[in-house]
């Protein structure tokens, strides 16, 4: 039984997960069930080696203890955010459905007439440890968010600088737009925004005071637009215009950029330990020539 469970763990973690052969929820649960069966046996073997020569009753208690410790540890990982953060897995109480596998392991250990730990059992314990270290998590489908995206500007030379614009933040409370001005040539190149307005449906809002940040020799201006973006989304206003009047050096230009509220589905795939941004920026192009 433990060898079969270990084999299932290996095949599931290294072949089935992410292969598309089985749904993600099923491969996730197979690992949980197999792992929760194998791990108490591993604990039992370790404890049995440390306290060799005990009675059958004592071994029964050890088996039940190993199952309880495993169940408690697994429950803590799946329910307590602080513990969960230590092991880099998802907080998912539904995984507790696999806990009966601990009871099965204890039952198997109690019923199996084990003598001193055999070499096969020791090998199984080692394999369980190794697998616990290298087991992989399947890609998980986590929540995706709609994001405003600039769909109409490329890098644009204005005066002494090259200007680029993108949406850095997008959420219920509004959006944040970053304007980057890179000096096109050596020498001083001052830039400032004299007007920044976001318009979508009935909403028209000016940016609150811009935050200026220097990074890698380039000037970044961050423009926060605070508005009720949730209402805009619910009312299906998915397009907007961003008007910017930028003065770079001695040149001032007015840019009108088209924005679109993009949602690529309720969920997106995230690999283990990776947090991908919900949506990448689309290639930028001018929609309207500056006047």
């Amino acid at each position: 039984m433990p060898i079969a469970a270990t084999a299932l763990l290996v095949v599931n973690d290294h072949v089935l997960k992410g292969s598309g052969l089985l749904p993600g929820w099923l491969t996730g649960k197979l690992s949980d069930f197999a792992g929760l069966f194998v791990f108490p046996i591993f604990l039992f073997v370790v404890a049995d080696v440390l306290t060799r020569g005990r009675s059958t009753q004592a071994r029964g208690r050890t088996a039940i203890g190993a199952a309880l410790v495993t169940a408690a540890g697994f429950s803590a990982v799946k329910l307590v955010p602080g513990v969960n953060a230590l092991v880099h897995t998802l907080l998912d109480p539904s995984d507790l459905i696999a806990l009966p596998a601990c009871a099965l392991a204890a039952l198997w250990l109690v019923r199996e007439p084990l003598g001193a730990p055999s070499s096969a059992l020791r090998a199984l314990a080692c394999a369980a440890v190794a697998l616990a270290c290298v087991a992989t998590s399947a890609p998980r489908l986590v929540r995706n968010y709609p994001m405003w995206k600039v769909e109409s500007l490329g890098k644009r030379r204005i005066g002494c600088g090259e200007v680029d614009v993108w949406v850095s933040k997008s959420g219920k409370q509004g959006i944040g737009v970053t304007v980057r001005i890179a000096p096109a040539s050596s020498g001083p190149c001052q830039a400032r925004i004299t007007r920044a307005r976001f318009s979508a449906g009935p909403t028209a809002v000016d940016a609150e005071s811009a935050v200026s940040l220097e990074k890698n020799g380039k000037s970044h201006l961050y423009l926060p637009f605070v508005f009720d973006n949730e209402t805009l989304w619910n009312d299906e206003h998915h397009t907007a215009q961003l008007e910017l009047v930028i003065q770079v050096g001695d040149r001032e230009e007015r840019l009108v950029l088209n924005l679109r509220h993009v949602w690529s589905g309720a969920h997106h795939v995230v690999e283990r330990d990776r947090s991908e941004p919900p949506d990448a920026q689309a290639p930028l192009q001018f929609a309207e020539p500056p006047r």
Partner: protein, 193 residues
């Protein structure tokens, strides 16, 4: 056997969830510049959590002890369907490939029928309960009523994952403590907070 297979198939098809696009944007602190201002991709918003309406159907199978003033303790059993409707909230949005989608906290009502029972002579007691659930633990309280025997009384049910314990008392008649397995297939209608 085929009927059981078809039933299992139908139940598994019913176990699922439906998304709504309502309130879909995440939470952002717009006034604070992004951590990496030079990064041309948008910063991921914070998860606002989600709400859900949950419909769950299934059944309870259990047994226990019946206590009556007229008779000794006796073994009692109960088998029957139960339908639940509730509203729930979760601080963290669900993972879409989770085994089942169920809110972290939920409130609602259960309607059930103990169709097979050794107590009574007619269709068996019907009951209604209000419940509160937190993670995988549910507490419910309500009233049961047997239309044939015309007995009724309060009942309390505690459920953890798929195991339940129920205390029910028929006024001027008997008290039962039963426990067993509760299997209900949920379907959640989920939208963002």
């Amino acid at each position: 056997m085929r009927a059981w297979g078809l039933l299992a198939l139908a139940l598994s098809a019913a176990c699922g969830h439906t998304h709504s696009a309502r309130n879909a944007p995440g939470n952002v602190d717009v006034r604070r510049p992004p951590e990496r201002i030079e990064d041309e991709t948008a910063e991921a918003p914070e998860d606002p959590g989600e709400n859900a309406i949950v419909v769950a159907g299934g059944g309870l199978v259990g047994g226990g002890i019946g206590l009556s003033g007229e008779r000794d303790e006796e073994f009692v059993y109960g088998v029957g369907p139960e339908l639940s409707l509730g509203y729930g909230e979760s601080d963290v949005s669900h993972v879409d490939d989770a085994f089942f989608i169920y809110p972290q906290r939920s409130y609602g009502a259960n309607l059930g029928w103990t169709a097979l029972a050794n107590e009574g002579t007619g269709v068996g007691p019907l009951y209604g309960e209000l419940y509160f659930g937190e993670t995988l633990l549910w507490a419910a309280g309500g009233w049961s009523w047997d239309p044939n025997d015309r007995i009724h009384g309060p009942q309390i049910t505690l459920t953890m994952v798929a195991l339940y314990v129920r205390l029910s008392h028929q006024l001027d008649h008997a008290t039962q403590i039963t426990g067993g397995i509760s299997v209900k297939i949920p379907h959640s209608f989920v939208w963002s907070r």
